[in-house]
Every structure is written in structure tokens, then in C-alpha cells.
């Protein structure tokens, strides 16, 4: 009797599952659609927006924020946040540039490794504050946002490192292309795929979602919450360190103010990318797409000859539109899902 009762139910729920799967994919699809629309409209108004050079520029521009968004996603998934990334980028960019300028003999890979390590160390400070000392992440990283930047200022003491001071080979990293794709974009893509795979396919990756979904349940499930959270912060710090070197290579002019205020851009990318700010859900692909969308909006506004004074406003409006669109889509699908369950 139970088996007969179970049959139609499970069949119905199977259908529900396929729909759920599709919804899950739609989360990122929404951003892709928005991107498509942006490119179509802008391209129609000014075809040069679709040229190879323009696309290359957009990829270059979004690479750094995308990298940071990937790292930030790791942290946000665990129901934390890292506001200090911009300061870490600044610290790493300045540190790297300074070493390259003052000690021309140091091999570039060593400098890059050093910057990544510096970033990881900053991430470890955050991670220990949050994981071990249980300071809420927003407070801890708002604190280190000021603190790391303070160190940066003290270190720089008003000094600026210019492109001329750094070796050509290093600067080329910021602009060189491989098979027509700019190197920074390739690096970001490689990191994105690697992190994306790990989050989906490693137990430790799944545990990050578990922690963000319910920290108390994670403790009871025997997950080593503090260690995982620490790891997420360290990884994010390391990526911010990497982003710092990329920044130095790409822009060539580095002082203590590098990347000031970028943390909001990164969080905006993450949020637009559909990563739940209270943890537990979202993917790095969404976050990276969010970064590309934001960079494309900025580029499109510049290309569309929009009045310079109106750009900020339109940028904000488009950002809101993207979030709202995404939400409306999710609501519709949820409603459809409920209807489908109805006998």
C-alpha cells in the first residue's frame, strides 16, 4: 500500500528536481542574459564596443575584480565577509613594486610568490580574528581595512613607484596576451575554474557551504569550523595578494592609495553574481560573471558617450536593475515550482 502511494509522489518530485536544477543554473543565466543585453544595446549604438580590442580591454579591466570576487566568495559562503581586501591589494601592490624598483635583481616569480604570501598572511590575521577570537567578520575586517592601509601608508611614506622603475618583463605580465587572451584574464580564469571545481567537488569545499548555511549545525556535524574559516580567509588573502601584483603590473603607477574603496566593487560583484550575503549558497562563477558585468557597464557608459557627470548614477541604477531582475526571476521560478507541486 505504501509503495503504491509512493509511486506518483516520487514521479512528481522527479519533475520538480529537473526544474530545481534548471533554476540553479538560471541563477548565473540571469547575469549572462543581462550581459548579453548590455553588449547588444551598446554594440548597436557603437559597433566598436564589440571589437576585439574593446573586449580585450573589458577582460583586462575585470580580471582583477573577478579574481577578488572569487576569493571573496570563498569567505562570503561561510557567512563571513572580508572588507579588508582592498587594503591587502594595496599593500601587496606597493610591496611588490617597491621590491622590483629597489632591488632590480630579484627574480619576478619570487616577487609574485612574496606578494601572494604577504596577502595570505593578511588573510591569516583576519582568519584568526574571526575563527579563533570570534570577532564578527565585518568588524574584524573593517578594522584591518584601516590597519592594513595604515601600514601601507607608513611603508610608502608618500613614495610612488612608476612604470619606469619596474622591469619591462614584469610590466608585460599585465598586458601580454596568450592566443589573443590577455594574461591577467587567463590567470583569473584559471583561478576561477580551480576554485569552482574545489568548491563543488571537495569535501572541504562542501563544508564551506555547510558552515555558512548553519554554523551551529556545522559544529555538531564535526566540521572543524575554525580551521575551514581560517583557510577561506587565507585563500582570499592570497588571491588579494596575487591581485595586488597584477595591479602593479597592469597599471605601472603604484602608491599607497592603490585600490582604495575597491572592497565595495568586489562585494557588489559577488552580490550581483547571486552569492547569498548571509552564506551557504552561490558560486564563484556567478561572482566572476558579476565582476565582468560591472566592468562592462563601466566600459559601456564610457563608450556610449554618456555625460561624465551622469555615469555614477547610471552605474548605480544598472547595478540595482541587475539585482532586481535577478530577484524577480527567482520569485517567478519559485512560484512556478509551487504550482507544479500541486496535485
Amino acid at each position: 500500500m505504501t509503495s503504491t502511494a509512493a509511486e506518483p509522489t516520487s514521479a512528481r518530485r522527479g519533475g520538480g528536481r529537473r526544474l530545481v536544477d534548471r533554476v540553479a543554473r538560471v541563477r548565473e543565466l540571469g547575469i549572462v542574459v543581462a550581459l548579453g543585453a548590455l553588449f547588444a544595446v551598446t554594440g548597436a549604438a557603437n559597433p566598436s564596443f564589440l571589437s576585439y580590442g574593446s573586449i580585450r580591454d573589458i577582460l583586462l579591466n575585470s580580471a582583477i575584480v573577478a579574481l577578488l570576487a572569487v576569493g571573496q566568495t570563498l569567505v562570503v559562503i561561510t557567512r563571513n565577509v572580508d572588507l579588508s581586501v582592498s587594503s591587502v591589494v594595496g599593500l601587496s601592490a606597493f610591496g611588490g613594486a617597491l621590491v622590483l624598483a629597489d632591488h632590480p635583481g630579484v627574480p619576478v616569480p619570487l616577487v609574485i610568490a612574496g606578494c601572494v604570501a604577504l596577502g595570505a598572511a593578511c588573510g591569516a590575521v583576519n582568519g584568526l580574528l574571526v575563527g579563533a577570537a570570534r570577532v564578527p567578520a565585518l568588524v574584524a575586517t573593517l578594522g584591518t581595512l584601516y590597519a592594513f592601509r595604515g601600514i601601507d601608508y607608513a611603508w610608502a611614506g608618500g613614495r610612488q613607484v612608476n612604470a619606469a622603475d619596474m622591469p619591462e618583463g614584469f610590466l608585460a605580465l599585465g598586458t601580454r596576451s596568450v592566443l589573443g587572451v590577455p594574461l591577467p584574464a587567463l590567470i583569473a580564469l584559471a583561478v576561477l575554474l580551480a576554485v569552482g571545481w574545489m568548491l563543488r567537488n571537495l569535501r572541504s569545499g562542501r563544508e564551506l557551504y555547510a558552515i555558512g548555511s548553519s554554523p551551529e549545525a556545522a559544529v555538531l556535524a564535526g566540521i572543524r569550523v575554525r580551521r575551514r574559516v581560517l583557510t577561506a580567509f587565507v585563500a582570499n588573502g592570497a588571491l588579494a595578494g596575487l591581485a595586488g601584483v597584477m595591479w602593479a603590473a597592469r597599471f605601472g603607477t603604484v602608491d599607497a592609495t592603490v585600490a582604495t574603496g575597491k572592497e565595495l566593487d568586489v562585494i557588489a560583484a559577488v552580490v550581483v553574481g547571486g552569492v547569498a550575503i548571509f552564506g551557504g549558497s552561490g558560486t564563484v562563477y556567478g561572482a566572476a560573471l558579476g565582476a565582468v558585468l560591472l566592468a562592462s557597464i563601466t566600459s559601456a557608459l564610457a563608450v556610449l558617450r554618456v555625460d561624465a557627470l551622469a555615469q555614477t548614477a547610471i552605474n548605480g541604477a544598472l547595478l540595482l536593475a541587475a539585482i532586481v531582475l535577478d530577484r524577480l526571476l527567482a520569485l517567478r521560478v519559485a512560484a512556478a515550482l509551487r504550482r507544479r507541486r500541486s496535485p
Partner: protein, 498 residues
């Protein structure tokens, strides 16, 4: 070797501030034996469970594993030692799929990444054993409390542990699920697993267990073979006094219709539900887990929107999806999930009790703390709440006492129609009798009571009329005389329209 317990506690104690939750309790769990833990709300059962599972470290005393002393620094240690726990409150990850909840940290691996197919199959197999109809891929968010409990059970079973600890696993379940759970538990026991079982339904203890340990106020009363005890003995050990009859429903003559629900439909959830509740009447809403009873209650109270139909209180139609309107009309809802819906866990007892009736506490534009405290004290005394200070946050109360706080919060509003969803879930026998007396008194004083309950004895003992739901539809209405275990179950499983 028969004699070495798998896991034992020796003289363990645990205090929280001034509350000595567990006092020098010893306990032995043997392979192939089901051991019950009984005691009133706040007796220290869950605390003991948390000591066994590594959540709390005992202040004194020792834990022995196979006779060897061990220390559990955290839940991970206990899990490694082969202890699986079903906690009293479900601990799921709402964003993750049901199957991932079950296998978190132990997901089957394939060559490249996780083997989701194997995980799905294993989940389906577990659900098959438990008779659960849930899609392994659906997220845990939105599961009813009963479904959550079932997932917790599946999770614990999947660990294939040597010791399985179950803290009130059946509190949210109805008879059919309980029977299946017991079937599975019996098999495990035969395979040599040691079981620790906690429940406030004494008949379950007698059905499943071989020995029973009773706690009172954190201290050990006795450990007896189950055969040596009668239910009355057990109750006496728990409460330390005699209890009067358990279901003192007074007979009342129903007055006029207070709540009238007509053709209420929420697509995908319930369909065409119509019923009435009169003043002085207790109407029970019975059914299997997932039948849609709680959903009806939520819609009637205005938490969820309905798609068709109407709700009237005292002849006045309610606006849909407006809890404030429902409350103004005299409706009150004691929800089924007290931690999520009933209480603000971080707030104090008095604030929680005052929360649903802030207007009544106002003196001018400000809230009178005195009035707030008076109201809380009044109801705490009436419901025999066990607490240290009214200013303590409710999350330090035991589960049953938390339930009393929710009741107090709504009763303090003096509603004319009271909807209670699983009002005695996790409440001990003594308190349960008090809650029943309370509901009965309320009905006698002219309140219309709609009671959702998965406990058949409670339904049969309390209700003037029984409504039965099956798969989102009202399938039977039985009056007191017609209602019996058989007739209700038959309707609930969709076998026979009454």
C-alpha cells in the same frame, strides 16, 4: 566481553552558571541494547546527550569507551569513536540538498570529485528503509519539522555507528513514521548497536527499550530493567509524586461558531479545506506528517497567502496574509517550530512572553517593564515554568520549558480562537497533563481550540471532534464517539473515507 559497556559515563556533572544541569550521573550503554532516558523537562537529558557527543565537556566525571577512559574535545571526536547523535532540535544545513545534509563530511568520492550518483542512491535507500518520501536533491530549507527530524534520523543511520543516541526523535512524528523508525532501530539493535533513546511518550519507551534510566533535577534516580516497571512507576520516578488522570477533557456544550474556514486552497499545498470550530470546542486536526495541517494553520493565521476560499472569525472575514488582522480578530497561533517561529531565542523569557501583546504593556508611549514582568511572572507560575530568572534568555531553558513560554506568550493575549500546532511536542508527561488541563479549561471558558497533533492518544483524549487530512485534503470528520485509533489512521492513510 558481554559485560563491558560500549560507552559509559561515570559520575559526570555539568553546570551552566548556577544551574547544575547534570549531577554525578552514571550511565552504561551496552551493545545490542536499547536504553531509555526518562525525566521531566529540564531534568538534564539533553545535556547528558551533549556530553556523550562531545558538545559539552563534563565539569567532572569520566567517559569510558570500551572500558577505556576517553576525552571528547568536540563532536568530531565522538563521531570518530562511533557515536552518532540525533539532537533534540534538528541541525540541518538549509541551503544544502537533503542528501548532502546526510553525508556532509563523508560524501562518497569518485575519481574526479564527488560521486553524487552514489550519494543519491544511498539516500534513496535510507529513505526507503524509513518510508520517507523526499527528493534527495531538494534543499533542506522549507522542510516541515517532521521531515527535518526524518532527515536527521537518516543522517544518524548513515553513519553506521556503534552507539546511536536519539534525543526525542519521535516528538514530531506520527504513528506510522514512529513504527518504521522502531523497525529500523530494532534491526540495528540486533546487529549489536547500542541505543540511547529519549522520549516523553512513555509507551514508546516500553515498546523499544530494555532498560530505563530516570533523571530528576539533573540527578540519577534509578536504572531499571523495563520489565520491572509499570508506566505509573516510571512516572512516579520522574516526577516524584503521583499524577492524576492524563486527559481531563471536561465536557462542554459548544457555543456559536467562532472560526469558520471555507473552501480554503493554497495551490500545491492544500485544497478545498472547509471546517468550523465552535466556542468551547476542541477540534483536532490529525493526519500523517506532511498532510498539510500546519500549512492550513499558517494560512488561517495569515502567515501564508491563500489562493482561494475564506476564513471568518466570529462572522467577520479575515484579510488574507495579515497576521495582525487575525490577531485583532482574536486568533492566536502556537506554531510547531518553537525555535524558529515561536521564540526569539536570544531574548529573555519576559520579553518573549510580552512580544505578541506589546500594546497591552504600554503606559503612554512607553512600555512598562513592571507590567511586562508581572505578566511574565503570572504566566510562568500558571504554567509551572522552570526557570532561574525571568531576565534569562529563553535559549537556556530546556525544550519543554521553551514550549511553555510560547504557550504563555499566546495565552496572555486571551484569544477567542486558539490554534495550537503540536502543543505538547517535547513536553514531559506531567507538564503535558497541565497543558491538556489548560486547553480544556480554555475551552470550558468559551475559547474555540483547533489542535494539530500527531499523537493519537492526545487527539483521542482531548478532541470533541477530529478532522483528518490526507495529502492536502480534508478526508474525514469524526465526532468523539466515532474517533478511534483505527478510524483516524484509516482516514489519515487515505484508505477509507469515513
Amino acid at each position: 566481553m558481554e559485560d563491558t559497556p560500549v560507552l559509559s559515563l561515570l559520575q559526570v556533572s555539568k553546570a551552566f552558571g548556577a544551574v547544575r544541569a547534570v549531577r554525578e550521573v552514571s550511565l552504561e550503554l551496552r551493545a545490542g541494547e536499547a536504553h531509555a532516558l526518562a525525566g521531566e523537562n529540564g531534568a538534564g537529558k539533553s545535556t547528558l546527550v551533549k556530553i556523550l557527543s562531545g558538545v559539552h565537556r563534563p565539569d567532572s566525571g569520566r567517559i569510558l569507551l570500551d572500558g577505556e577512559p576517553v576525552e571528547f574535545a568536540g563532536p568530531a571526536d565522538a563521531q570518530r569513536a562511533g557515536v552518532a547523535v540525533i539532537y533534540q532540535e534538528p541541525t540541518l544545513f538549509p541551503d544544502l540538498s537533503v542528501m548532502e545534509n546526510i553525508f556532509m563530511g563523508r560524501q562518497p568520492r569518485a575519481r574526479l570529485g564527488l560521486d553524487r550518483r552514489a550519494m543519491r542512491a544511498a539516500t534513496a535507500e535510507l529513505f526507503g528503509r524509513l518510508g520517507v518520501h523526499l527528493d534527495p536533491d531538494r534543499p533542506a530549507r522549507g522542510l516541515s519539522i517532521a521531515d527535518q527530524q526524518l532527515v536527521e534520523i537518516a543522517k544518524a543511520l548513515s553513519r553506521q555507528a556503534r552507539v546511536l543516541v536519539m534525543d526525542e526523535p519521535t516528538a514530531a512524528l506520527s504513528g506510522q513514521e514512529v513504527a518504521r523508525l522502531f523497525g529500523v532501530a530494532g534491526t540495528l539493535r540486533e546487529q549489536g548497536v547500542a541505543l540511547l533513546f529519549i522520549s516523553h511518550r512513555l509507551e514508546e519507551i516500553f515498546e523499544l527499550c530494555q532498560r530505563v534510566t530516570t533523571l530528576r533535577d539533573g540527578a540519577l534516580v534509578a536504572t531499571d530493567p523495563i520489565g520491572d516497571l509499570t508506566p505509573d512507576d516510571l512516572v512516579r520516578r520522574m516526577v516524584g509524586r503521583e499524577l492524576e488522570s492524563l486527559f481531563p477533557k471536561q465536557d462542554t456544550t459548544p457555543g456559536e461558531v467562532a472560526l469558520s474556514v471555507r473552501r480554503l486552497t493554497r495551490e500545491g499545498v492544500f485544497t478545498d479545506v472547509s471546517f468550523e470550530v465552535r466556542r468551547g470546542e476542541i477540534v483536532a486536526l490529525a493526519g500523517l506528517v506532511g498532510a498539510g495541517r500546519s500549512e492550513v494553520a499558517r494560512a488561517v493565521f495569515g502567515i501564508d497567502r491563500w489562493d482561494a476560499g475564506s476564513v471568518e472569525v466570529d462572522g467577520r472575514r479575515l484579510r488574507p496574509a495579515r497576521p495582525t488582522a487575525a490577531m485583532a480578530a482574536g486568533l492566536a497561533l502556537v506554531p510547531e517550530d518553537r525555535r524558529q517561529q515561536g521564540l526569539v531565542m536570544d531574548l529573555s523569557i519576559e520579553r518573549n512572553i510580552g512580544l505578541a501583546g506589546l500594546a497591552a504593556l504600554r503606559r503612554g508611549p512607553l512600555i512598562s517593564r513592571l507590567a511586562e514582568r508581572e505578566r511574565a511572572r503570572d504566566w510562568a507560575v500558571r504554567l509551572r515554568l522552570k526557570f532561574a530568572r525571568l531576565g534569562d534568555p529563553v535559549n537556556v531553558l530546556s525544550g519543554g520549558n521553551q514550549q511553555k513560554v510560547v504557550l504563555a506568550k499566546w495565552l496572555a493575549r486571551r484569544p477567542s480562537v486558539l490554534i495550537v500546532d503540536e502543543p505538547t511536542r517535547g513536553i514531559d508527561v506531567g507538564t503535558k497533563a497541565e497543558v491538556h488541563r489548560l486547553l480544556s479549561e480554555l475551552a470550558a471558558s468559551g475559547v474555540a481550540v483547533l489542535m494539530i497533533s500527531s499523537e493519537l492518544p492526545e487527539v483521542l483524549g482531548m478532541a470533541d471532534r477530529v478532522l483528518v487530512m490526507h495529502e492536502g485534503r480534508l478526508v474525514a470528520e469524526l465526532d468523539r464517539a466515532e474517533a478511534s485509533e483505527e478510524s483516524v489512521m484509516a482516514a489519515a492513510t487515505g484508505r477509507s473515507p469515513a
